[in-house]
Every structure is written in C-alpha cells, then in structure tokens.
C-alpha cells in the first residue's frame, strides 16, 4: 500500500512541478495522470500495489467531493438572492449536455463500434410472481 501511495504522490508531485515550471493551463494532477498513463504504457503492466490502491480509491471516490460541496455554506447569501435562477440554469444545461453527449456517442457507436461484452448494460431479469 505504501509503495502504491509513493507512486501516486510522486506522479502528482512531478505533475504539479511541471505545471508550475511551465505555467501550464492544466492542473498538476491531470499532468500527473497523463505521466502515469505513459509510464504504465511503457511498463505494460500495472504494479500490484497500484492496482489494489486504485480499487479502494474508486470505491470511495464520491466521498472526496463532500468537503468541497459543504462549501455551499460560504455562499448562502448569494444563493438566497439568485439561487433559483442558478439552480434552473444548472439543471437545464446539465440535462441538455447529458443528452447531447450520450445521443451523439451512441449514434456514432451504433454505426462504427457497437458495444460488446460488459460495454452493454445487462437489464436485471424482471421478478415474476412477486407482487
């Protein structure tokens, strides 16, 4: 686990350093992710320590956004004043973008690369006889 953490922190550190050094418009962790991807491609195998840690991170990824979301507390005045219009804009635009992206993806994919295996959602069988 410590070895996995070491790799992760190292790539974040290098990514952050490169961003600061060259004044890149992309955040350090994103550069770090790209570097890790390149490293994995060169090595062609993910170290076991990284593989295990990855699954823990993915399992609890939503938790990491909670402290930022609580930041809403700092803006209660603005949100009371114009929260309703912000809320409507946010919901409508999110729905429009979700539909536009998914429909265009699925339309292109149907012609060029139909889903195979676990790329297709399995519908749970409908339980019969249970009212």
């Amino acid at each position: 686990m410590i070895e996995g953490l070491f790799f992760i922190f190292l790539f974040q550190l290098v990514g952050t350093a490169l961003t600061a050094l060259f004044g890149l418009p992309v955040p350090g962790p994103v550069i770090g992710m790209a570097l890790l991807l390149i490293w994995l491609a060169l090595r062609f195998k993910t170290p076991a320590s990284l593989d295990n840690l990855c699954d823990i991170f993915l399992r609890y990824l939503p938790l990491l956004f909670v402290p930022a979301a609580v930041g809403v507390l700092n803006y209660k005045d603005i949100l009371i004043e114009s929260g309703l219009s912000l809320f409507i804009i946010l919901i409508l635009s999110t729905l429009a973008a979700l539909l536009a992206a998914s429909i265009s993806f699925i339309w292109v994919a149907r012609h060029l690369c139909p889903p195979i295996g676990d790329e297709q959602r399995k519908l749970e069988p409908v339980k019969k006889g249970v009212e």
Binding site: F65, L73, S102
Partner: protein, 243 residues
C-alpha cells in the same frame, strides 16, 4: 443541569477547534448516507454526496461553525482528490482497447457534448439576465473544478464560486444521469459514462465507477478531454455572446 450543559458546551468548543471532530463527522455522514442510498434501492435523489454534504451543512449551521473551522478537519479528505485523479490512469489503462475502439464516437461526443454544455449555460445566463461576474462563474460548470477556476478567472468571475458551481453541477448530474438514461433506454455503458464525464466531471465520474468500470473509464476520458476542449472554446463562446 446548567453545569453539565456548560461542560458539554466547553467540550464541544474544544473538540470543534480540533480537526478530528469534523473529519469523523464527514466520514460518518458519508457512511450513513451510503447506507440510506442502498436501503432506498439507489433512489437518485438520495445520492450519498448530496445527502451527506447537506447533513453536514445543517450541523455546521446549527452549531454556528464557520466553514473554515470545518475545513481544518475535512482538508485531509479534500487533499486526496489530487491523488485520486492520478489513480484514474489505472482504469483508463485497463480499458485502453475499448477506448481506442470507440475513438470516433468519443471525438464526436466530445465536440457535440462540450459545445452544448457551453452554449446552453451561456444562453441560459443571458435569458436569466445574470450579471457578468455571475455568468463568468457558472460558464465553466461542466469542467473539473481546478480547471473551472482558471477559466472563470480569465472570464472575470469569482474563482471559489466557480469551483462550488462545478461541484454542484457534478452532484446534479450524478442525481439526474441514471434516471435520464434509463428513461431513454440507453444500454451502452460507454456512451452513458462518457456523457457523464463530459457534463459532470469528477462527481459524475465517481458515480459512474459505482455502476460500471467501463462507464467510469469512459467518464474519466470525458472529464479529461472536456477540460482541454472547454478551456479553448468557452472563452470564445463567452466573448461572442457576452462581449
């Protein structure tokens, strides 16, 4: 009675200053919210991030605790966001063949989805007559928070408000996406995941990983590509419409 109350208050004030209380509360609230979510058979509105952050807000508001005091404890969780982004390289690598096979669909959906996200939010801001500062803060809402802050700053918006609106967009997408896609009968995990990544970046990606690792990997790619795509097109669109 009076004495025991002041004792309790003194203990609370003491603990409230230390990071451990708010760190524990955050973990506890999230675990409880996840239980509730599972118990409700994954009812979309009971999204764990939404429920736990609202519960914490109520506790902080009720006890008169400022966000800064809370964040002294919660920062240890917040810090892990950076490492979590690094780790996303692993699932992307695992699903590299699937991603490469779907490259044309990815490219088209990025252009269509990224453009609709930008145009719709700017158009609606004009319609609702938001002032320039507010519009600049909400425009990069579909971009991952650190990049959204940079874009908002360039457009002349409040940086921390932009980060908050980006996270709230992520939560709204995590709530809306699954019922929406199910209603339309979309079965392709790649398209579902990619759309969520483009629109709802980190929180959406986190949600996608809970459903399918294919969806999560496509969401990761969507989030990363849209950060680049939006950083280029949003300033142009914003100037065209608001300039």
């Amino acid at each position: 009675m009076q004495d025991s109350f002041t004792d309790f208050a003194a203990i609370f004030v003491y603990l409230g200053e230390a990071p451990l209380l708010w760190l524990t509360l955050t973990l506890g609230a999230f675990l409880a919210a996840e239980r509730l979510y599972q118990f409700s058979n994954r009812f979309a509105l009971l999204n764990p991030v939404l429920v736990s952050s609202m519960a914490i807000c109520i506790v902080l508001y009720g006890t008169g605790t400022p966000y800064d005091a809370y964040f002294r404890g919660a920062q240890f969780i917040h810090f892990l966001l950076g490492p979590a982004i690094i780790v996303l390289a692993v699932p992307v690598w695992r699903h590299r063949a699937a991603l490469w096979r779907a490259r044309f669909a990815v490219l088209i959906a990025l252009i269509v989805g990224g453009s609709v996200a930008g145009l719709s939010v700017i158009g609606l801001s004009v319609f609702f007559e938001l002032d320039l500062e507010m519009a600049a803060a909400i425009t990069p809402k579909s971009v991952t928070a650190p990049v959204a802050m940079g874009i908002a700053e360039n457009l002349g918006g409040a940086v921390s408000l932009a980060a908050l609106l980006a996270v709230l967009t992520g939560i709204s997408g995590a709530v809306l996406a699954t019922p929406l896609f199910n209603a339309f009968g979309f079965l392709d995990w790649r398209g579902r995941g990619f759309a969520v990544g483009i629109t709802c970046h980190g929180v959406g990606t986190a949600h996608a990983f809970q459903l399918s690792s294919v969806a999560g990997s496509f969401a990761t790619i969507g989030m990363a590509l849209n950060a680049l795509f939006s950083a280029v097109i949003l300033p142009v669109l914003f100037l065209l419409i608001y300039g």
